[in-house]
């Protein structure tokens, strides 16, 4: 697997472009005052003078792809909602951030809440939505949610939310609601169930959320990630063509990479879409921590297939990683060093899915639990060689058989860890 040709696209090694992190160098970068100083709330009046369809057209031109995990083209999603004739329509924001490794939406809510609020207002205007909900993970109450609520209150006071925004005739109410600890509620249809006051069981599709019958309270609904929407002010101000030029083909803009693990620096880094993992590690994170060498990379949250150190030259955009049989996912990059046994790492990752499976579909409920038991057995030194083959086989059986993608997200790491790091597994086999 290791020596697949690297893609031809040359990329700048460090990003001079700062979109989402524009103000982050300032102390108290989250205040309205600082956001205004950096040019905040200039896109909103401009957007409100545009035709809603023209806004969506810019988003299409900008090649904005959803930052929640699937990389779905945002403009296309909004066009689906626009085509529906049933009202009201909703825009629901996914701020549930639960994928292991991911902590970038929290950073936006804490450090750039106004950029997100402005982007959300523009998004609502574009799809003719008058009530929007931001669904935040429960633990965010005192930090990110508090900052967000302050920003919303300030926006109401300034007339950027509420009735007849800036004299445009457009009305919008923005509400923050909280989950209560369930990874599955990050899946968009489980999120909608939760928002309706139910347990988070994903819904069978179709109908899709964007269509009548499939969304919040059965109304057409766009579900979008926090980071996706925070890009809107820049797209309106500078245009879709500019936004598209920042990234790589079909992947516009920058991405907030949430880096964790064994690199020297960890945290949230903004880099153009497509930046290679080598560049991310060396130019942004200062390389690996002292005395350690890179062994493996989780490229897009724990559900993504693992990469070896040799594969670090791969570009990180949605399309490249898809062709490499992994995914850009949530933009959560975990650099792991030689101290890690990949079978132990996989046992940890799989335990997460076994705990968080909602239990609705049998292949997922039973499969994740079984995988977790077998991997724990292996890690205790009680496993046999056939257990390793069994684990791989079970994972293959789980794919594409369930209502939502949690099972696929559990199977992808299992298969890839074994295929790429078989030695670590065999080393644990007894006898």
């Amino acid at each position: 697997m290791a020596n697949l040709p690297t893609p031809p696209m040359p990329l700048p090694q460090t990003s001079p472009v700062k979109i989402l992190t524009r103000d982050w160098h300032l102390p108290e970068c989250w205040t309205l005052e600082n956001y205004l100083k950096g040019g905040g709330y200039q896109a909103l009046p401009k957007a409100l003078k545009m035709a809603p369809q023209a806004i969506v057209d810019e988003v299409v031109k900008g090649n904005l792809r959803g930052r929640g995990g699937a990389g779905f083209p945002t403009g296309m999603k909004w066009n689906f909602v626009r085509k529906e004739t049933s009202f009201p329509k909703y825009l629901v924001v996914n701020a549930d951030e639960g994928e292991p490794g991911t902590f970038k939406d929290r950073a936006i809510l804490e450090w750039a809440p106004h950029m997100f609020v402005e982007g959300l207002i523009i998004g609502c205007f574009a799809i003719d939505c008058h009530v929007t909900y931001v669904y935040c993970r429960g633990e965010f109450r005192d930090g990110p949610v508090a900052r967000l609520q302050t920003a919303i209150d300030e926006a109401y006071a300034k007339g950027w939310l509420g009735k007849n925004i800036l004299g445009s005739g457009f009305d919008l109410e923005m509400h923050v609601v909280r989950g209560a600890g369930a990874y599955i509620c990050g899946e968009e249809t489980a999120l909608l169930e939760s928002l309706e006051g139910k347990k988070g069981y994903p819904r069978l599709k179709p109908p899709f959320p964007a269509n009548a019958g499939g969304g919040l309270f059965k109304q057409p609904t766009a579900v979008n990630n926090v980071e996706t929407l925070a890009n809107m002010p820049a797209i309106i101000e500078k245009g879709g063509d500019w936004f598209s030029s920042v990234g790589c083909p079909k992947n516009g803009g920058t991405r907030l990479f949430a880096v964790s693990g064994h690199s020297k620096k960890t945290g949230v880094f903004e880099a153009p879409m497509g930046t290679t993992f080598t560049a991310l590690l060396n130019d942004y994170c200062g390389g690996m921590r002292d005395g350690s060498t890179l062994k493996a990379i989780i490229p897009g949250g724990s559900s993504s297939a693992i990469m070896t150190a040799e594969e670090a030259e791969w570009m990180s955009d949605f399309d490249t990683l898809k062709t490499k049989k992994t995914m850009a996912g949530s933009g959560a990059v975990v650099f792991l060093d030689q101290s890690v046994n990949m079978a132990h790492a996989l046992a940890n990752v799989t335990r997460f899915y076994a705990t968080e499976s909602c239990g609705q579909c049998t292949p997922c409920r039973e499969g994740t639990a079984w995988l977790s038991r077998l991997l724990d057995k292996l890690c205790r030194g009680e496993g046999e060689k056939k257990d390793v083959d069994n684990i791989h086989q079970i994972a293959r059986q789980m794919e594409q058989k369930t209502i939502c993608a949690l099972a696929d997200g559990a199977a992808m790491p299992v298969k890839s860890y074994i295929e790429k790091f078989r030695g670590d597994f065999d080393a644990l086999v007894k006898g």
Binding site: G101, G138, A180, K198, S260
Partner: protein
Amino acid sequence: MIPLTRPAGPVPSPFNADQQARFDAGFAKAIAKYPADKKRAALLAVLHLAQEQLGWLPEAAMAYVGFLLDVPAVRVREVATFYTMYRLKPVGCHHLEICNSVSCWSKGSEALLKHAKEKLGVHAGEVTPDGKFSFGEVACLAGCGYAPSMVVNNYAYAEDMTPEKFDALIEKLKNEPGQNIADFPKNHDTGRAHG
């Protein structure tokens, strides 16, 4: 037994006067977020509110919430047991939850869990004899870059943890009141508990 139907008459409140005042204020705000005919949607928020008053969710609180929102008790129970932040039995005044997902794991969360067990002298899910502390293992908290990370009483993040920082945190919390669980009679007959 969990009644499958809506209660016939009013259900008594489990709150004292102060708690009731705080609960009522929050309740009005929570249901105002939804269309008038969709107040059930506020169930998660109202359960959070009830738990914030009592420190956990006794049967009486679930019954009361169901009555207010016109949701059958079995549906309230379904939600309360689905989500891990709701506590179905009392926890310590300070409940510490340590993330053990992959990023935190790669930075020593297992050692931190072991340290917590030794320091507090109880297993995960148990309460110290003085009622002050309990701890548990949780899934990713979105603090992965500042690993290992943990939360105190659901909401207060403590990050870049080490055993030394953990000990310092315990010393600090010893003198803080923590969750308001003393006000409610402990009723252990509350069904399935989260570990």
